[in-house]
Symmetry: C2
Subunit: 308 residues, 2 copies
């Protein structure tokens, strides 16, 4: 309940960032892909094994400096059940290394079905006498288009199992405004309305830093809206994608943080995973290049916020 | 491109319904669960095997009378990668039996990531020289909250691979109105706005029955909105959940069809899967009971529409 566990790790490491593990096969060094293609050929299985090896080496290099990872479910789902097994293993490995795990799945459905997604991602499933956590993430991203009964099962897991959710409010993509920026007759935009729903959904799950278990996804690519939403939603922690590769700068996104440098966690995926290419270093040095980029990102963001 | 393939199958079987395969473990007859628990214990693996056996027997019984199945991704995801393997196998088995497959996944993300979901569900993934279809469904449900660039990769697959999508417009759950029914300053509701976006997204993919490859999910539980949306969105085929167990009646949902009895496909999940319980027949007769319920549902709906 609440995001206290994550916030404490952010304070401990003085680092309000999360590394997105969205491993496209094309990002993965050739020597890793060759290793698994030699065993399994060009199959979904060999692709999924390459992904896990890649993730594992990045986690080894960043877990002592970065508080969290955010695996993006789509990049695992695209390799079928082999990919999903890699997602499970990645989550487990990150947690064994003390990291907080946010599965970026943007799941949404009616109540009964949302319960199934909840059990899958941040809850447990009962088979006979066994209770099993299929994925075991600490938090998951969700889409609130279906309203309260599509969120309630997630809230239950937040309360009972100390988990969190991030609801899509203002997304980082170019066309996010087509629907999200439209104005209602009461003067609010749709994204503000969704933000207000997050405050309400989180009401009874606030932790000692003032933030509830219901966070919001707000893109770094819309810095003014990020700043306004910070004021509007004082108990809602932000997950901020769009830094770096998507174009959001550190100064602009600093408006997403409160006066203590808390209340937001900034994601970077491609810039960290592909740092070895930008550096032009040997591909076998990819994980250390990821670490260097993670440090650069941390320092870039921390110069604009007041995190002690 | 377009839903012509599905519509032709609907006309051929004179049946505008789809059976939802959302197999909770508790729905599955004990004799099936015992069979797999004897081999694998009470594990995610045995649960997933039970699910597949259950689905397979239902497909065997209904494929000659029902045009389509709609597996709900959440109920597979909750058994981890074992469950996802069952989803893959279920889709493949249904297609081998001539059924149209709509994966109910409600996926949504920014463009680059939506491409990964597209490749997973209705497209293909490249590994080395191989092109592989991980799931290979005919259509998938999506959530349009992120706007056009979150839909575009799906439209590409619709055009190039003869696939379809259903976008959430007005969902069947009790709290769907919290966001979806709110009025914009231009007088439209949010769900009408989303519906208008579907018409636009589908514009260049209309087939010979007038319907595009971009459908809409509209709940049977809101019959008046369903009727109004039919008029408003003349090129958008509806996927209509909420019949039966959720409370939507056949007469009410007939407003979702056009004057030829086309333009909609009505889903029933629990009522079909659990028909054996309602009938009180032997659990080993579950698949035949599912067939009887599928026929009853078809006849119930067809009496109110003009499908020839």
């Amino acid at each position: 309940m609440s995001f206290d566990r994550l916030i404490e790790r952010i304070i401990e490491l003085k680092n309000p960032t999360v590394v997105g593990l969205d491993p496209k096969l094309e990002y993965i060094p050739e020597y890793i892909k060759r290793r698994y293609q030699n065993d399994d050929g060009c199959t979904l299985r060999s692709a999924a094994k390459s992904l896990f090896a890649f993730n594992q080496m990045i986690i080894d290099e960043i877990h002592d400096i970065v508080p969290a990872i955010k695996p993006q479910a789509a990049y695992y789902e695209m390799y079928g059940h082999y990919g999903i097994k890699t997602l499970e293993k990645t989550i487990r490995y990150a947690k064994l290394n003390g990291m907080f795990v946010i599965t970026d799945a943007k799941r949404n459905d009616i109540g009964a079905t949302m319960e199934a997604y909840t059990n899958a991602h941040i809850g447990a499933v009962t088979v006979g006498d066994n209770e099993i956590e299929p994925f075991g993430a600490d938090a998951v991203t969700v889409n609130g288009y279906l309203g309260t009964d599509g969120i309630e099962p997630m809230l239950k897991a937040c309360r009972e199992r100390d988990k969190g959710i991030y609801v899509l409010v203002k997304t980082s993509n170019p066309s996010s405004g087509e629907l999200q920026d439209l104005k209602l007759e009461d003067g609010r935009t749709i994204y503000e309305t969704m933000g207000d729903m997050c405050e309400k959904w989180g009401e009874d799950t606030r932790g000692k830093y003032g933030y509830s278990a219901v966070g919001a996804v707000v893109g770094a690519t819309y810095p003014q809206m990020l700043t306004e939403l910070r004021k509007r939603l004082p108990h809602t922690m932000f997950l901020v994608p769009g830094y770096g590769a998507q174009g959001g700068g550190a100064e602009g996104l600093s408006g997403g943080f409160d006066e203590n440098g808390l209340g937001a966690i900034v994601n970077s995926s491609r810039a960290v995973m592909c740092a070895y290419r930008k550096e032009g270093c040997d591909e076998r040095d990819f994980a250390k290049a990821a670490r260097r980029e993670a440090i650069r990102m941390r320092d870039d963001i921390c110069q604009y916020i007041n995190l002690k």
